[in-house]
Symmetry: C2
Protein backbone atom coordinates (compact mmCIF):
# COMPACT_ATOMS: atom_id res chain seq x y z
CA UNK A 1 0.00 0.00 0.00
CA UNK A 2 1.48 3.27 -1.18
CA UNK A 3 -0.20 5.33 1.53
CA UNK A 4 1.93 3.83 4.29
CA UNK A 5 5.13 4.42 2.38
CA UNK A 6 4.22 8.04 1.78
CA UNK A 7 3.43 8.55 5.44
CA UNK A 8 6.80 7.09 6.37
CA UNK A 9 8.57 9.49 4.00
CA UNK A 10 6.64 12.45 5.34
CA UNK A 11 7.48 11.49 8.93
CA UNK A 12 11.18 10.96 8.22
CA UNK A 13 11.44 14.32 6.48
CA UNK A 14 9.48 15.91 9.34
CA UNK A 15 11.97 14.52 11.85
CA UNK A 16 14.85 16.02 9.86
CA UNK A 17 13.10 19.42 9.70
CA UNK A 18 12.43 19.24 13.45
CA UNK A 19 16.10 18.52 14.29
CA UNK A 20 17.21 21.42 12.09
CA UNK A 21 14.79 23.88 13.76
CA UNK A 22 15.79 22.67 17.25
CA UNK A 23 19.49 23.18 16.46
CA UNK A 24 18.86 26.68 15.09
CA UNK A 25 16.88 27.73 18.17
CA UNK A 26 19.50 26.20 20.50
CA UNK A 27 22.19 28.36 18.88
CA UNK A 28 20.04 31.45 19.49
CA UNK A 29 19.30 30.43 23.09
CA UNK A 30 15.56 30.48 22.41
CA UNK A 31 13.52 27.71 24.04
CA UNK A 32 10.51 26.59 22.01
CA UNK A 33 7.77 24.92 24.08
CA UNK A 34 5.11 22.89 22.26
CA UNK A 35 1.88 23.41 24.22
CA UNK A 36 -0.67 20.70 23.51
CA UNK A 37 -4.15 19.93 24.82
CA UNK A 38 -7.74 19.34 23.88
CA UNK A 39 -9.82 22.27 22.62
CA UNK A 40 -11.04 24.50 25.42
CA UNK A 41 -8.66 23.31 28.13
CA UNK A 42 -7.37 26.83 28.70
CA UNK A 43 -4.10 27.05 26.75
CA UNK A 44 -4.44 30.75 25.97
CA UNK A 45 -5.58 31.63 29.50
CA UNK A 46 -2.57 29.77 30.95
CA UNK A 47 -0.18 31.52 28.55
CA UNK A 48 -1.70 34.90 29.38
CA UNK A 49 -0.93 34.28 33.05
CA UNK A 50 2.65 33.13 32.32
CA UNK A 51 3.28 36.26 30.22
CA UNK A 52 1.99 38.52 33.02
CA UNK A 53 3.93 36.64 35.72
CA UNK A 54 7.30 36.57 33.90
CA UNK A 55 7.85 40.15 32.64
CA UNK A 56 11.64 39.60 32.80
CA UNK A 57 11.44 37.17 29.85
CA UNK A 58 10.84 38.05 26.22
CA UNK A 59 8.02 35.70 25.19
CA UNK A 60 6.48 35.06 21.78
CA UNK A 61 3.41 32.96 21.04
CA UNK A 62 2.49 31.15 17.82
CA UNK A 63 -1.23 30.37 17.81
CA UNK A 64 -2.22 27.45 15.59
CA UNK A 65 -5.90 27.11 14.76
CA UNK A 66 -8.08 25.81 11.96
CA UNK A 67 -9.68 29.27 11.79
CA UNK A 68 -10.10 32.58 13.69
CA UNK A 69 -7.62 35.04 15.20
CA UNK A 70 -9.15 35.36 18.68
CA UNK A 71 -6.24 33.72 20.53
CA UNK A 72 -3.49 35.78 18.90
CA UNK A 73 -5.50 38.93 19.63
CA UNK A 74 -5.74 37.99 23.33
CA UNK A 75 -1.96 37.47 23.54
CA UNK A 76 -1.16 40.71 21.70
CA UNK A 77 -3.41 42.63 24.08
CA UNK A 78 -0.90 41.67 26.82
CA UNK A 79 1.93 43.29 24.87
CA UNK A 80 3.58 40.00 23.83
CA UNK A 81 4.48 39.17 20.27
CA UNK A 82 2.03 36.76 18.61
CA UNK A 83 1.39 35.23 15.21
CA UNK A 84 -1.71 33.33 14.14
CA UNK A 85 -1.19 30.22 12.03
CA UNK A 86 -4.08 28.76 10.08
CA UNK A 87 -3.55 25.07 9.39
CA UNK A 88 -5.91 24.69 6.37
CA UNK A 89 -7.98 22.13 8.24
CA UNK A 90 -4.95 20.14 9.51
CA UNK A 91 -5.34 18.77 13.03
CA UNK A 92 -1.71 19.31 14.08
CA UNK A 93 1.43 21.37 13.44
CA UNK A 94 4.46 19.75 11.84
CA UNK A 95 8.08 20.93 11.87
CA UNK A 96 7.89 22.72 8.51
CA UNK A 97 4.82 24.68 9.55
CA UNK A 98 6.46 25.50 12.89
CA UNK A 99 9.66 26.69 11.20
CA UNK A 100 7.59 29.00 8.98
CA UNK A 101 5.82 30.37 12.06
CA UNK A 102 9.15 30.92 13.86
CA UNK A 103 10.37 32.80 10.79
CA UNK A 104 7.19 34.91 10.76
CA UNK A 105 7.35 35.88 14.44
CA UNK A 106 11.05 36.77 14.19
CA UNK A 107 12.60 34.80 17.05
CA UNK A 108 15.93 36.67 17.00
CA UNK A 109 15.84 38.07 20.52
CA UNK A 110 13.21 35.85 22.18
CA UNK A 111 13.83 33.94 25.40
CA UNK A 112 10.76 31.75 25.12
CA UNK A 113 8.59 30.79 22.19
CA UNK A 114 5.32 28.98 22.80
CA UNK A 115 3.66 27.01 20.04
CA UNK A 116 -0.01 26.77 20.99
CA UNK A 117 -0.79 23.65 18.96
CA UNK A 118 -4.18 22.80 17.43
CA UNK A 119 -6.62 21.71 20.14
CA UNK A 120 -6.91 17.93 20.26
CA UNK A 121 -5.30 15.16 22.30
CA UNK A 122 -4.40 12.89 19.38
CA UNK A 123 -2.68 14.18 16.24
CA UNK A 124 -0.36 16.86 17.76
CA UNK A 125 1.30 14.12 19.86
CA UNK A 126 2.42 12.30 16.72
CA UNK A 127 4.55 15.07 15.19
CA UNK A 128 7.90 16.44 16.34
CA UNK A 129 7.62 20.21 15.82
CA UNK A 130 11.24 20.97 16.69
CA UNK A 131 10.35 22.15 20.19
CA UNK A 132 12.85 21.81 23.07
CA UNK A 133 10.11 20.90 25.56
CA UNK A 134 6.57 19.54 25.35
CA UNK A 135 4.05 20.80 27.88
CA UNK A 136 0.53 19.40 27.84
CA UNK A 137 -2.63 20.56 29.54
CA UNK A 138 -5.50 18.51 30.92
CA UNK A 139 -8.33 20.55 32.42
CA UNK A 140 -10.40 19.27 35.35
CA UNK A 141 -13.74 19.28 33.44
CA UNK A 142 -12.30 16.88 30.83
CA UNK A 143 -12.07 14.10 33.42
CA UNK A 144 -9.41 11.97 35.11
CA UNK A 145 -9.83 9.10 32.60
CA UNK A 146 -8.10 10.90 29.71
CA UNK A 147 -4.68 9.22 30.27
CA UNK A 148 -6.45 5.87 29.67
CA UNK A 149 -7.93 7.01 26.36
CA UNK A 150 -5.21 9.21 24.87
CA UNK A 151 -2.00 7.68 26.24
CA UNK A 152 0.46 8.91 23.59
CA UNK A 153 0.35 12.61 24.46
CA UNK A 154 0.81 11.89 28.17
CA UNK A 155 3.70 9.51 27.34
CA UNK A 156 5.40 12.06 25.06
CA UNK A 157 5.20 15.20 27.22
CA UNK A 158 7.88 16.55 29.56
CA UNK A 159 5.35 18.22 31.86
CA UNK A 160 1.59 18.24 32.44
CA UNK A 161 -0.40 21.18 33.78
CA UNK A 162 -3.72 20.06 35.25
CA UNK A 163 -5.70 23.27 34.79
CA UNK A 164 -8.96 24.76 36.14
CA UNK A 165 -8.38 23.26 39.62
CA UNK A 166 -10.62 26.05 40.95
CA UNK A 167 -13.46 24.00 39.41
CA UNK A 168 -12.56 20.81 41.34
CA UNK A 169 -15.53 21.14 43.77
CA UNK A 170 -18.01 21.00 40.85
CA UNK A 171 -16.58 18.00 38.99
CA UNK A 172 -16.03 14.37 39.76
CA UNK A 173 -12.25 14.49 39.18
CA UNK A 174 -9.89 12.34 41.27
CA UNK A 175 -6.49 14.09 41.21
CA UNK A 176 -4.61 11.17 42.84
CA UNK A 177 -6.06 8.69 40.36
CA UNK A 178 -5.22 11.02 37.46
CA UNK A 179 -1.59 11.45 38.60
CA UNK A 180 -1.24 7.69 39.11
CA UNK A 181 -2.51 6.99 35.56
CA UNK A 182 -0.18 9.59 34.03
CA UNK A 183 2.90 8.40 35.97
CA UNK A 184 2.24 4.85 34.84
CA UNK A 185 2.52 6.02 31.21
CA UNK A 186 5.42 8.38 31.88
CA UNK A 187 7.31 8.06 35.21
CA UNK A 188 9.57 11.06 34.41
CA UNK A 189 6.80 13.58 33.68
CA UNK A 190 6.41 16.57 36.01
CA UNK A 191 2.82 17.36 36.99
CA UNK A 192 1.53 20.78 38.06
CA UNK A 193 -2.07 21.21 39.27
CA UNK A 194 -2.86 24.89 38.57
CA UNK A 195 -5.57 27.50 38.25
CA UNK A 196 -4.68 30.29 35.83
CA UNK A 197 -7.77 32.09 37.18
CA UNK A 198 -6.79 32.21 40.88
CA UNK A 199 -3.02 31.78 40.34
CA UNK A 200 -2.84 28.66 42.54
CA UNK A 201 0.09 26.44 41.56
CA UNK A 202 1.35 28.83 38.86
CA UNK A 203 4.65 29.58 40.66
CA UNK A 204 5.70 25.92 40.50
CA UNK A 205 4.84 25.67 36.79
CA UNK A 206 6.66 28.92 36.05
CA UNK A 207 9.66 27.57 38.01
CA UNK A 208 9.70 24.56 35.70
CA UNK A 209 9.63 26.88 32.65
CA UNK A 210 12.53 28.99 33.98
CA UNK A 211 14.57 25.89 34.86
CA UNK A 212 13.94 24.48 31.37
CA UNK A 213 15.22 27.73 29.83
CA UNK A 214 18.40 27.71 31.98
CA UNK A 215 19.03 24.07 31.11
CA UNK A 216 18.48 24.84 27.40
CA UNK A 217 21.14 27.56 27.52
CA UNK A 218 23.77 25.46 29.32
CA UNK B 1 1.81 15.54 -5.22
CA UNK B 2 0.70 11.93 -4.91
CA UNK B 3 -0.56 12.30 -1.36
CA UNK B 4 -3.50 14.48 -2.40
CA UNK B 5 -4.58 12.03 -5.09
CA UNK B 6 -4.53 9.15 -2.63
CA UNK B 7 -6.58 11.11 -0.13
CA UNK B 8 -9.15 11.87 -2.81
CA UNK B 9 -9.47 8.16 -3.65
CA UNK B 10 -9.85 7.26 0.00
CA UNK B 11 -12.56 9.89 0.49
CA UNK B 12 -14.52 8.85 -2.62
CA UNK B 13 -14.47 5.20 -1.57
CA UNK B 14 -15.45 6.25 1.97
CA UNK B 15 -18.45 8.14 0.61
CA UNK B 16 -19.56 5.04 -1.30
CA UNK B 17 -19.19 2.85 1.82
CA UNK B 18 -21.14 5.41 3.84
CA UNK B 19 -24.04 5.47 1.36
CA UNK B 20 -24.16 1.68 1.38
CA UNK B 21 -24.28 1.47 5.20
CA UNK B 22 -26.93 4.22 5.40
CA UNK B 23 -29.13 2.35 2.87
CA UNK B 24 -28.75 -0.94 4.78
CA UNK B 25 -29.71 0.66 8.09
CA UNK B 26 -32.63 2.50 6.50
CA UNK B 27 -34.04 -0.83 5.27
CA UNK B 28 -33.80 -2.21 8.82
CA UNK B 29 -35.40 0.90 10.32
CA UNK B 30 -32.35 1.48 12.53
CA UNK B 31 -31.26 5.08 12.97
CA UNK B 32 -27.50 5.53 13.38
CA UNK B 33 -26.51 8.76 15.11
CA UNK B 34 -22.89 9.93 14.84
CA UNK B 35 -22.08 11.58 18.19
CA UNK B 36 -19.08 13.89 17.94
CA UNK B 37 -17.32 16.19 20.38
CA UNK B 38 -14.02 17.05 21.96
CA UNK B 39 -12.52 14.66 24.53
CA UNK B 40 -14.15 14.98 27.93
CA UNK B 41 -17.27 16.88 26.88
CA UNK B 42 -19.52 14.23 28.39
CA UNK B 43 -20.57 12.00 25.46
CA UNK B 44 -20.84 8.82 27.56
CA UNK B 45 -22.63 10.60 30.43
CA UNK B 46 -25.17 12.05 27.97
CA UNK B 47 -25.74 8.64 26.35
CA UNK B 48 -26.17 7.00 29.76
CA UNK B 49 -28.94 9.47 30.54
CA UNK B 50 -30.65 8.92 27.15
CA UNK B 51 -30.57 5.14 27.65
CA UNK B 52 -32.14 5.47 31.13
CA UNK B 53 -34.76 7.99 29.91
CA UNK B 54 -35.88 6.03 26.82
CA UNK B 55 -36.45 2.43 28.03
CA UNK B 56 -39.02 1.91 25.24
CA UNK B 57 -36.26 2.02 22.61
CA UNK B 58 -33.67 -0.65 21.92
CA UNK B 59 -30.38 1.25 21.91
CA UNK B 60 -26.88 0.11 21.00
CA UNK B 61 -23.66 2.07 21.45
CA UNK B 62 -20.39 1.75 19.54
CA UNK B 63 -17.58 3.36 21.52
CA UNK B 64 -14.62 4.49 19.44
CA UNK B 65 -11.41 5.25 21.30
CA UNK B 66 -7.68 5.16 20.72
CA UNK B 67 -7.41 2.88 23.76
CA UNK B 68 -9.28 1.65 26.88
CA UNK B 69 -12.68 0.04 27.38
CA UNK B 70 -14.00 2.28 30.17
CA UNK B 71 -16.79 3.84 28.08
CA UNK B 72 -18.22 0.56 26.76
CA UNK B 73 -18.17 -0.82 30.31
CA UNK B 74 -20.18 2.18 31.57
CA UNK B 75 -22.81 1.66 28.84
CA UNK B 76 -23.05 -2.10 29.43
CA UNK B 77 -23.58 -1.50 33.14
CA UNK B 78 -26.88 0.18 32.13
CA UNK B 79 -28.01 -2.98 30.34
CA UNK B 80 -27.57 -1.58 26.81
CA UNK B 81 -25.60 -3.35 24.12
CA UNK B 82 -22.15 -1.87 23.55
CA UNK B 83 -19.03 -2.57 21.54
CA UNK B 84 -15.64 -0.96 21.97
CA UNK B 85 -13.74 -0.01 18.82
CA UNK B 86 -10.02 0.71 18.98
CA UNK B 87 -8.94 2.92 16.11
CA UNK B 88 -5.19 2.05 16.09
CA UNK B 89 -4.28 5.65 16.76
CA UNK B 90 -6.68 7.07 14.14
CA UNK B 91 -8.35 10.31 15.16
CA UNK B 92 -11.73 9.58 13.55
CA UNK B 93 -14.06 6.78 12.42
CA UNK B 94 -14.66 6.23 8.71
CA UNK B 95 -17.54 4.37 7.05
CA UNK B 96 -15.69 1.06 6.72
CA UNK B 97 -14.77 1.03 10.41
CA UNK B 98 -18.35 1.97 11.31
CA UNK B 99 -19.80 -0.80 9.13
CA UNK B 100 -17.51 -3.31 10.90
CA UNK B 101 -18.70 -2.04 14.28
CA UNK B 102 -22.37 -2.26 13.21
CA UNK B 103 -21.69 -5.85 12.13
CA UNK B 104 -20.05 -6.59 15.49
CA UNK B 105 -22.86 -5.14 17.61
CA UNK B 106 -25.51 -6.98 15.57
CA UNK B 107 -27.94 -4.19 14.64
CA UNK B 108 -30.74 -6.54 13.54
CA UNK B 109 -33.40 -5.43 16.03
CA UNK B 110 -32.07 -2.06 17.20
CA UNK B 111 -34.09 1.15 17.09
CA UNK B 112 -31.16 3.45 17.69
CA UNK B 113 -27.44 3.00 17.25
CA UNK B 114 -25.06 5.61 18.59
CA UNK B 115 -21.53 5.89 17.28
CA UNK B 116 -19.53 7.63 20.00
CA UNK B 117 -16.81 8.97 17.73
CA UNK B 118 -13.19 9.61 18.78
CA UNK B 119 -12.97 12.71 20.96
CA UNK B 120 -11.82 15.71 18.96
CA UNK B 121 -13.51 18.59 17.15
CA UNK B 122 -11.60 18.29 13.89
CA UNK B 123 -11.08 14.96 12.10
CA UNK B 124 -14.44 13.25 12.84
CA UNK B 125 -16.24 16.12 11.06
CA UNK B 126 -14.41 15.31 7.81
CA UNK B 127 -15.65 11.73 7.36
CA UNK B 128 -19.12 10.49 6.48
CA UNK B 129 -19.64 7.42 8.69
CA UNK B 130 -22.95 6.37 7.12
CA UNK B 131 -24.97 7.82 10.00
CA UNK B 132 -28.51 9.14 9.44
CA UNK B 133 -27.99 12.06 11.82
CA UNK B 134 -25.03 13.92 13.26
CA UNK B 135 -25.29 15.15 16.84
CA UNK B 136 -22.44 17.14 18.31
CA UNK B 137 -21.67 18.14 21.87
CA UNK B 138 -20.01 21.28 23.15
CA UNK B 139 -19.59 21.43 26.92
CA UNK B 140 -19.73 24.70 28.84
CA UNK B 141 -16.14 24.45 30.22
CA UNK B 142 -14.75 24.31 26.65
CA UNK B 143 -15.86 27.89 25.99
CA UNK B 144 -18.25 29.79 23.73
CA UNK B 145 -15.51 30.56 21.16
CA UNK B 146 -15.29 27.01 19.78
CA UNK B 147 -17.59 27.68 16.76
CA UNK B 148 -15.06 30.31 15.66
CA UNK B 149 -12.15 27.89 15.85
CA UNK B 150 -13.67 24.58 14.67
CA UNK B 151 -16.39 25.69 12.25
CA UNK B 152 -16.68 22.50 10.18
CA UNK B 153 -18.21 20.25 12.84
CA UNK B 154 -20.78 22.91 13.78
CA UNK B 155 -21.59 23.42 10.09
CA UNK B 156 -21.96 19.67 9.44
CA UNK B 157 -24.11 18.66 12.43
CA UNK B 158 -27.92 18.33 12.52
CA UNK B 159 -28.13 19.13 16.22
CA UNK B 160 -25.90 20.48 18.98
CA UNK B 161 -26.19 19.62 22.67
CA UNK B 162 -24.52 22.24 24.86
CA UNK B 163 -23.74 20.07 27.89
CA UNK B 164 -22.77 20.67 31.54
CA UNK B 165 -25.05 23.73 31.82
CA UNK B 166 -25.15 23.04 35.58
CA UNK B 167 -21.56 24.40 35.53
CA UNK B 168 -22.60 27.73 33.90
CA UNK B 169 -22.23 29.74 37.15
CA UNK B 170 -18.54 28.76 37.40
CA UNK B 171 -17.47 29.52 33.84
CA UNK B 172 -17.35 32.57 31.64
CA UNK B 173 -19.64 31.10 28.93
CA UNK B 174 -22.07 33.34 27.03
CA UNK B 175 -24.90 31.06 25.79
CA UNK B 176 -26.48 33.72 23.54
CA UNK B 177 -23.15 34.49 21.91
CA UNK B 178 -22.47 30.77 21.43
CA UNK B 179 -25.87 30.15 19.80
CA UNK B 180 -25.43 33.19 17.55
CA UNK B 181 -22.00 31.94 16.39
CA UNK B 182 -23.31 28.42 15.71
CA UNK B 183 -26.42 29.64 13.83
CA UNK B 184 -24.22 31.82 11.64
CA UNK B 185 -22.36 28.69 10.51
CA UNK B 186 -25.47 26.52 10.29
CA UNK B 187 -28.89 28.26 10.37
CA UNK B 188 -30.78 24.90 10.30
CA UNK B 189 -29.04 23.33 13.30
CA UNK B 190 -31.14 22.57 16.40
CA UNK B 191 -29.50 23.54 19.70
CA UNK B 192 -30.26 21.96 23.08
CA UNK B 193 -28.67 23.34 26.26
CA UNK B 194 -28.66 20.36 28.67
CA UNK B 195 -27.29 18.95 31.89
CA UNK B 196 -27.07 15.16 31.90
CA UNK B 197 -26.31 15.47 35.63
CA UNK B 198 -29.48 17.32 36.70
CA UNK B 199 -31.61 16.30 33.70
CA UNK B 200 -32.32 19.91 32.70
CA UNK B 201 -33.13 20.20 28.98
CA UNK B 202 -32.89 16.43 28.36
CA UNK B 203 -36.56 16.06 27.43
CA UNK B 204 -36.20 18.43 24.48
CA UNK B 205 -33.09 16.64 23.23
CA UNK B 206 -34.75 13.25 23.63
CA UNK B 207 -37.76 14.60 21.73
CA UNK B 208 -35.43 15.49 18.86
CA UNK B 209 -34.00 11.93 18.91
CA UNK B 210 -37.49 10.36 18.84
CA UNK B 211 -38.64 12.68 16.03
CA UNK B 212 -35.51 11.81 14.04
CA UNK B 213 -36.27 8.10 14.45
CA UNK B 214 -39.88 8.56 13.29
CA UNK B 215 -38.76 10.60 10.31
CA UNK B 216 -36.13 7.94 9.47
CA UNK B 217 -38.81 5.24 9.37
CA UNK B 218 -41.25 7.22 7.18
Amino acid sequence: MKLIKLNATVTASNDRDAEELRKKLKEKGTLLINLMSSAGSGKTTLLSRVIRDLPELKIGVMEADIESEVDAQRIEALGAKAVQVHTSGMCHMDAGMTAAAVEAIGAEDMDLLFLENVGNLICPAEYDTGAGKKLMILSVPEGDDKPLKYPLMFAESDALAVTKIDALPYFDFDMDKCIERVKKLNPAIEIFPVSAKTGEGMEALEGWIKDALNEWRN
